[in-house]
Symmetry: C2
Subunit: 376 residues, 2 copies
DNA sequence: ATCGACCGGTCGC
DNA sequence: TGCGACCGGTCGA
C-alpha cells in the first residue's frame, strides 16, 4: 500500500544507513525496535510515520528536508490512505481493505464505482449530522437497495463495516476513536434497527410489530407481561415482538435475538430464549453469520458450517439450533449459510433470507407465531 | 502527540490552501473526507500519513519536496512513535498510551525508566524468538517481581497489554497484525499460564497441581473423570486442578476459570461451573477484573463494583458470585476490587490477591477443596 | 472514576 | 476457505 514513488525513496535509506556506518541491528537497538523493522522500511514494504522516519534520519545525520530534497511524484496518482477503497474490474467492483496482515480484495459483482460512492456518501452525510446508528442503518439499507443481487452479509461485513472503520468517513471531531471497537458497539445495535425497519411495513399488515423500547421501564413492562423478570432479562432482550389482537390491544409475544456473528457468544441468549419458548413465546435468531478467515481473498463462509448428514462434521453452532433448539428458528442473511435442507427433521430450522422482499420466511414465521398465540 | 516542530510546519498548510484558492470544505469534498479534517490537520492536532499529506499538497500545487524544503527540527528530541512510552516523574514512572481519543497517563509509583526498559526487554526478546504466550507470561512475571508493591491488574492492563500492542515490540515479520485483537487471544491464554506458573510451586507442596492439558484427549479424559461430557465442556475448561491421593494417584478435582475482564461474558462459564459444584468439585474464578473508563487519567476500578450493603447499587457481576454463587469463589488481582467484607454472609466470596506470595487465599482455597474431596 | 452488552482478528488445536 | 474461545473501547440509557 506504499506509493511506488515513496517505496523507491525509502529504498535509499539503506545507503544512508551504510554511509552512517550503522548495521540494521544497531539501528533497531538504538530505536528499541524488534528485529527486522529497518529491513522492512528499507525495502519500502511499510510506510513509517513522519516521527519514525525523522528519528531514523536523525540517526543517519539527515533530516526530512534532506530526505525529500529531490523527490517528486511521478505519474501514479497520489491518494489519501483509506481503510476502505474500491476499483472497477470489468462490470464488477472490487473492495480493498486491510484484513490483519493481508491487503484483502473482495469482488462485488455487477457494481460500479459510482454506486459505491453513492452508498458511502449516505454514511458520511449521516455521520456528519446524526448518530452512528442512523448512519449505519441508512447506509446498509441503501446498499441492499442498490445491489439486491449481492449477499447482504458481504455488504455488511466487507463494505459497511470497513467504511465505518475509515477515519475519514467520520467527522474530524470524533478523531482518535477506536473505530474497530466502535463498530462492534454501533454496528451490533444498528443491525437490530435494520431488521425492525426492514420488516415492520410487512409485519404491520398482519398486526405484528417489532419494537426496540428505549425507556428501560417500557422494556421491562413488556417482558414482565411475558412473565419474564429478574436480572439479565432486560439487558439480553434485543427486539420485542408485539401483536395486536382482535380487540385492538397489543401484546408482546416474543423476543427477536440479533447477532452479527457468533464466536463463543452464541449461548449468551440461550437461557432467556429457553424461558421464552417454554412459555410458548417466539424466540428466533436473526444473524448475518459473518466470518471469514484472514486472507487476501477472504470468503465470508459464516460459522454455521456444513449441514447435518454431510461428510464434514457439523459445527456446534448448527447443533445448538437444529438439535438443541436454543432458538425456535434461525434466519441467516449470509448467502453462504447452508439452510436446514427441506425434508430433513430438525428441532429448529436454519433459514436463509435476504433483503429483497420482507415477505419472507422470517416475517411468515413471526406472523404464524402470533396467530398460534391468539389461537391459544 | 505531533512533534512541536512538525505541528508548526502543518500550520503552514492553511496559507498554502488559501493561496490555492480553496476552502476547507472544498478540499474535504475533493478528498472525500468527513467535515473538519482539514482544520484538524491545519491546526497540527493530528499527523497525516505521508500519502494523505502528499494528496493534500498535490491539490495545492505543492509536493513533499517543497513542503519540507526549509524544515529543520529544533531542540525537542525526535522519537519513534510508540504505542506505549514512559517518563519519570520524581520517584514515579508515568506510562503514556492512547486510550480511545485520549492520550492516557498512568502513574506507577516508585518505579524507574530503567526498570521499565528491563521489563519491556523481556517482552521484546522473547517475542523475537518464542511465541506470544511465553513472552507475555515472562514479561508479566518480571513486572510483578520488579514492582511487587504495584497493583497487578494495572501492570497487566496498562503496561503489558499496551506494550504488546506496540508494533515495534514485535519482530517485523509479524507486521500488520491487529495487535489489539491478538492481545485478546494471546493475553487471555497467557493469563491462564501465569496463574499455573505462579501457584504450582506452592500447590505442589500440598499434593495439588494446576494443569493446562494440550492434547484434547487428555483434557477430555480428565473432565470425563469428573463426570463431565458433552459439547462445550472441553472448550470452556481453562485450567484443570489435580490432586494426588494417599496412594500417589492423581485425580482431577475441579476447573479454574480465568478471565482478564468480565463485560457480558461473565456467564459464559456458569453452566459448566454449576455442574462442577453440583458434583462437589472446585470451580473458582481468577480475574484481573480490568476495567477503566476512557480518560486522560484512567482508573482501573474493575467491574465488581461496590460491596453489598453499601449505599451504591450492587453490580450484577457481584451478585452473580455473592448471591447466585456461579463460582465457588472469586479471586481478583485488582487492588481496587472490594473483597466481600469479612463477617458478612455470602453464597460465595470475592477475595483480593496479588503476586507477592503464592501462599494466599487462592492456594489455600484449592488445598482445602482437595482435602475436603479426599475426606469424602 | 455509572453500568451494561455489542463483536471479530487471532492462533492453538 | 477447519473450528473454537479469547477480550475491551464504545456509547445509549
Amino acid at each position: 500500500m506504499v506509493h511506488p514513488d515513496l517505496k523507491i525513496l525509502f529504498q535509499r535509506l539503506e545507503a544512508s544507513r551504510e554511509a552512517a556506518g550503522l548495521t540494521r541491528d544497531e539501528v533497531e537497538e538504538k530505536l528499541v525496535m524488534g528485529p527486522g523493522w529497518i529491513k522492512l522500511i528499507e525495502e519500502g514494504l511499510t510506510e513509517p510515520s513522519l516521527g519514525t522516519l525523522a528519528a531514523i534520519l536523525a540517526l543517519y545525520g539527515d533530516d526530512l528536508h534532506g530526505f525529500f530534497a529531490d523527490f517528486q511524484f511521478g505519474e501514479t496518482d497520489v491518494i489519501v490512505d483509506r481503510h476502505l477503497s474500491a476499483t472497477e474490474e470489468g462490470a464488477d467492483l472490487v473492495l480493498h481493505f486491510p484484513m490483519g496482515p493481508h491487503s484483502a480484495n473482495v469482488t462485488i459483482p455487477d457494481a460500479t464505482l459510482d454506486e459505491f460512492n453513492s452508498v458511502l456518501l449516505v454514511l458520511r452525510n449521516v455521520l456528519a449530522v446524526r448518530d452512528a446508528r442512523r448512519a449505519i442503518v441508512e447506509c446498509f439499507l441503501e446498499a441492499v437497495r442498490t445491489w439486491p443481487h449481492v449477499n447482504p452479509s458481504d455488504l455488511w461485513y466487507f463494505l459497511v463495516a470497513h467504511a465505518y472503520q475509515d477515519d475519514f468517513n467520520h467527522p474530524a471531531e470524533s478523531a482518535g476513536k477506536d473505530w474497530a471497537q466502535s463498530w462492534k458497539r454501533a454496528g451490533g445495535w444498528s443491525l437490530e434497527a435494520i431488521f425492525v425497519e426492514h420488516y415492520n411495513p410487512q409485519l404491520n399488515q398482519h398486526g405484528v410489530r417489532l419494537a426496540m423500547p428505549t425507556a428501560p421501564d417500557e422494556k421491562g413492562r413488556l417482558l414482565g407481561e411475558m412473565g419474564l423478570h429478574g436480572s439479565g432479562v432486560v439487558e439480553k432482550s434485543d427486539v420485542i415482538a408485539l401483536g395486536t389482537d382482535a380487540h385492538g390491544n397489543e401484546h408482546p409475544f416474543g423476543v427477536v435475538h440479533v447477532k452479527a456473528s457468533f464466536a463463543e457468544r452464541r449461548t449468551d441468549d440461550a437461557p432467556l430464549s429457553a424461558r421464552l419458548m417454554a412459555s410458548g413465546f417466539a424466540s428466533p435468531l436473526l444473524t448475518m453469520d459473518c466470518k471469514a478467515g484472514p486472507s487476501t481473498d477472504p470468503f465470508n463462509k459464516g460459522e454455521l458450517g456444513a449441514v447435518q448428514g454431510g461428510i464434514a462434521r457439523v459445527s456446534s453452532k448448527r447443533l445448538d439450533i437444529e438439535r438443541d433448539r436454543i432458538f425456535d428458528a434461525a434466519f441467516s442473511y449470509n448467502a453462504n449459510t447452508e439452510p436446514t435442507p427441506t425434508g430433513t427433521s430438525a428441532a429448529a430450522r436454519i433459514y436463509r433470507c435476504n433483503f429483497a422482499d420482507p415477505d419472507d420466511s422470517f416475517s411468515r414465521h413471526m406472523i404464524r407465531k402470533w396467530q398460534e398465540r391468539q389461537g391459544n
